[in-house]
C-alpha cells in the first residue's frame, strides 16, 4: 500500500494551491470589507475584484468588462442558457446542444423545454465528437442559442469549438461553451474561438469551490439570473465572494502562465497509463477521442465489473478516482455520456475515470496500474458475468 493518497480525480475537483490560498487569506478576517462600501476597506476589496477580473480576461483574451463572477460553474451555465433564452425568446424558441453536456447544461435545457422552448440534442460519434455538418443542418430560423461544451468532463473529448463558433457567427446564433473542464488544461481564446459566452469554475484549476465566472461578449443580449443589488455592473447581484474571486483570479493566472508545460506533463502521464493498462489488463476499452482530448483525463471501461466496487477497492489502496457507474452518478442509469458514445449499459457501469494533475507522478501511474490489474482480476473472479464469459469463451455477451 502507498503511504500517501494518490489523487487521480482532478476532473472532479482540485485542491486549492498554497499560493492561491495565501492570496485569498487576507480577505477573510482582515480585508473583509464589502466591495460596495465607499470607505477604504471597501475600496480595497473592490480593487481586489477588479484585479481578479483582469486576470480572467487575460486568460481568455477577453475584455475585463466582459467577465462576470458567479457562485459556481453551474450558475454560469444556468445564467448563460436561461439568460439568452429569455432575452431572445421573441426571436425564437430553439436551442441546440449535445447529448454529452454536463448536467448543468442538460438539466437547464430540459427545464427550458418544460417552459416552451425546443431543444435539439446533437448526438456524438463513438469518440464523443459532434458532427459540424449535422449542427449546421440543425440550425433553424428560430434558433437562438447553441451551447456546446469545450471539453467533456467524463471522456475528455474536445469539440471543434472554433468551427462551431464560426458556424454560429455566420448564422447569427449566439454561441455558449461550457469550458469548466478545459480552463487550465488547454489554451482558450474567446476571440479566435468565436465564442459569445463561456463558463468556468475555479475549483477545477486549483482555485476554491463555490466561485465561477461567465464571459459575456460585449453586445450579447442576456437577462439576469440573480436579481438584487448593483454588483457586477448590475448583472449579477450578491455581495461578492471576495476571497473566492481573488482565489479564482490567482488560480487562473498561475494556470495560464504554465499551461503548455502542464499540458505536456499530463499528456505524458496519460500516455504511460494508457500503454501500461493496455498491456496488463484484457477486455477493456478506452473511451473518448484518442487525440482531441483533455491531456490529463483517461476513461476506461472494464468488462464484467462494476465501477463503484472498483472505486472502493482503489480507495482502500489510497487511489482516488471516479466512475460513470449509476451507483456513483446519483441517478438510475450509468453516465449519459458513455451511453451517448454507444457503450451498452453493462459496459458503462464498469467505467473508470482517472484524471491527472499537478502533483501526479510516473510512480503514481505505476502504482495505479499495478493495483488496478490486481483489483480488476479480483472483481472479475467474483463476477457472474465473467464466469459466463469464460464458460462461453469467444461469444461476445454484449453485442
Amino acid at each position: 500500500m502507498s503511504d500517501r493518497l494518490i489523487y487521480l480525480d482532478h476532473a472532479a475537483t482540485t485542491a486549492v494551491k498554497p499560493e492561491v490560498f495565501e492570496a485569498m487569506k487576507p480577505y477573510f478576517t482582515e480585508l473583509f470589507g464589502n466591495p460596495s462600501s465607499i470607505y477604504s476597506l471597501g475600496r480595497t476589496a473592490k480593487k481586489a475584484i477588479s484585479e481578479a477580473r483582469e486576470k480572467v480576461a487575460a486568460a481568455l483574451n477577453a475584455d475585463a468588462k466582459e467577465i462576470f463572477f458567479t457562485g459556481s460553474g453551474t450558475e454560469a451555465d444556468n445564467w448563460a442558457i436561461k439568460g439568452v433564452a429569455y432575452a431572445n425568446r421573441k426571436k425564437g424558441k430553439h436551442i441546440i446542444t449535445t447529448a454529452i453536456e454536463h448536467h448543468a447544461v442538460l438539466h437547464t435545457c430540459e427545464y427550458l423545454e418544460k417552459e416552451g422552448f425546443e431543444v435539439t440534442y446533437l448526438p456524438v460519434d463513438e469518440n464523443g465528437l459532434i458532427c459540424t455538418k449535422r449542427l449546421e443542418k440543425a440550425i433553424r430560423p428560430d434558433t437562438i442559442l447553441i451551447t456546446i461544451m469545450l471539453a467533456n468532463n467524463e471522456i475528455g473529448t474536445i469539440q471543434p469549438i472554433e468551427e462551431i463558433g464560426e458556424i454560429a457567427r455566420q448564422k447569427g446564433v449566439i454561441f455558449h461553451t461550457d469550458a469548466v473542464q478545459a480552463i487550465g488544461n488547454v489554451k482558450i481564446d474567446v476571440k479566435s474561438m468565436n465564442v459569445d459566452l463561456l463558463s468556468l469554475s475555479a475549483h477545477k484549476f486549483y482555485g476554491p469551490k463555490g466561485v465561477g465566472a461567465l464571459y459575456i461578449r460585449k453586445g450579447i443580449n442576456i437577462t439576469n439570473l440573480m436579481h438584487g443589488g448593483a454588483q457586477e455592473r448590475k448583472r449579477r447581484a450578491s455581495t461578492e465572494n471576495v476571497a473566492g474571486i481573488v482565489g479564482l483570479g490567482k488560480a487562473i493566472e498561475i494556470a495560464s502562465n504554465n499551461i503548455e508545460q502542464y499540458n505536456k506533463k499530463l499528456l505524458a502521464l496519460s500516455q504511460k497509463a494508457i500503454e501500461e493498462i493496455s498491456e496488463k489488463i484484457p477486455y477493456i476499452k478506452f473511451n473518448g477521442h484518442q487525440k482531441l482530448r483533455l491531456p490529463g483525463t483517461v476513461n476506461i471501461s472494464f468488462r464484467f465489473i462494476e465501477g463503484e466496487s472498483l472505486l472502493l477497492m482503489l480507495d482502500m489502496k489510497g487511489i482516488l478516482a471516479s466512475s460513470g457507474s449509476a451507483c456513483t452518478s446519483g441517478s438510475l442509469d450509468p453516465s449519459h455520456v458513455l451511453l451517448a458514445i454507444g457503450l451498452p449499459h453493462e459496459i458503462a457501469h464498469g467505467s473508470l475515470r482517472i484524471s491527472f494533475g499537478e502533483e501526479s507522478t510516473e510512480q503514481d501511474v505505476s502504482f495505479l496500474v499495478e493495483q488496478l490489474s490486481l483489483i480488476v482480476e479480483r472483481l472479475r473472479g467474483m463476477s457472474p458475468l465473467y464466469e459466463d464469459f469464460v464458460k462461453n469463451e469467444g461469444r461476445n455477451l454484449y453485442v
Binding site: F304, E306, C327, G330, S331, L332, M382, L385, Y386, E387
Partner: protein, 148 residues
Amino acid sequence: MYSDKVMDHFANPRNVGEIEGADGVGQVGNAKCGDIMKMYLKIEDGKITDAKFKTFGCGAAVATSSMATELIIGKTVDEAYKITNAAVAEALDGLPPAKMHCSNLAEEAIQAALEDYKLKNGLTDEADVCKKCCKRCEDVHDLIDEDM
C-alpha cells in the same frame, strides 16, 4: 457512506465462489441495471449446509451477498425463505437509503436459489419461480440521494 460492517464484508467477502453440483442456483438482477447476484446452495436434509455467491455490482451488492450467505448457512429451507432484505441490511448495520435495493437483490437471490432447489426436487411448479428481479431498476428511484 457505508458502515464499517458493510466495508468489512465488501473488502473481505465471505463465501465467494461457485459450488460444483449445487442443489440450488439462483441468479437475479441484470447487467443493464448494474448488478447481478448469483447464489449457489448446497442443501442436505432440508438444511443449507453451504452457500456461495458471485456478484457483479456495487459495494453494497457485494456486502449484502456476503452477509446473505452467512445468514442462511445452517438454516433450514423454510427459515431461509423468511430472511428479508431488512434483515440482511440490519445485519450489516444498515445501508445508505440509495442502496437499500441491494438488500432486495440478496433476498431475491436466496429465494431464486431456493425455488431452483424446489423445482429440481419436484417440490414446486415452474410457474411459481420468483420473477421479481426485473422491476428492481425502477424501485431505486425514490430512494436515491436521500442521504445527503
